[in-house]
Point group: C2
Chain length 105, copies 2
DNA sequence: CGCTATCCTATCGTCTGGCGATATCGTCAA
DNA sequence: TTGACGATATCGCCAGACGATAGGATAGCG
């Protein structure tokens, strides 16, 4: 059985921030990359997500024409790097906690 | 600067599942416990969350009267344990990935 | 006994956001 | 010009996050 999606969306965003920190990324590439990690999102989910991340100051975009196609490349901002770092810490803390054996019952 | 909340809500739910797997938990205790981990959520956020988790079959509840007060205790179901396990894996994978040093720029 | 404080859960109204489906835009090929 | 293709943008609906507030049960006080 699959998990409710809302459990994962934060993870997805963190992934996006990370990739945008490695190199400029664009929509369809992200959809593909995330699918490789098991997160299947449609364009109707990803693009608004990107927009809100940009609006929130975590990403900045820049239009480029590649092979005749317009692409919007997103890069991580300082605030985005900060958010990613906080996400890292939170995720570490979460894993530390939930990885302790839970008594069944 | 604080992160957008939606980055964290999945983490919060995983925390809840974990705690519910350790021992039966109830609303206000969770609010307190989560606050200790830096997640401040109000009752209006937590209770509907609990309800939807139960509706989704990840938790089951049981009413108990403690010190004269009615409390609804939530425990993890098998499906919930499964979800938690998947969350663990995802979180591990996420951390593995985003912990690699990202080339600046 | 009634009053009030306390503890805990439930819900209302609003606004945000996830989603599939669809529209749109720019370029290349013929 | 038309069509195909790579990509982004948006519409419309429904779920859900949120603060605020209500509800309900009991204990303690007088």
């Amino acid at each position: 059985m699959s998990l409710p999606r809302d459990l994962f969306l934060g993870f997805v965003k963190l992934h996006i921030l990370y990739h945008a920190g490695c190199e400029p990324v664009y929509g369809l590439w992200l959809i593909d990359e995330l699918a490789r990690h098991g997160y299947e999102l449609s364009a109707g989910t990803l693009y608004p997500m990107l927009h809100s991340l940009e609006e929130g100051g975590l990403l900045v975009s820049e239009k480029r024409v590649v092979a005749g196609k317009m692409r919007k490349y997103y890069r991580l901002t300082d605030a985005g790097a900060d958010a990613l770092e906080q996400g890292r810490e939170r995720a570490t803390e979460l894993l530390n906690e939930i990885s302790e054996p839970a008594p069944t019952g």
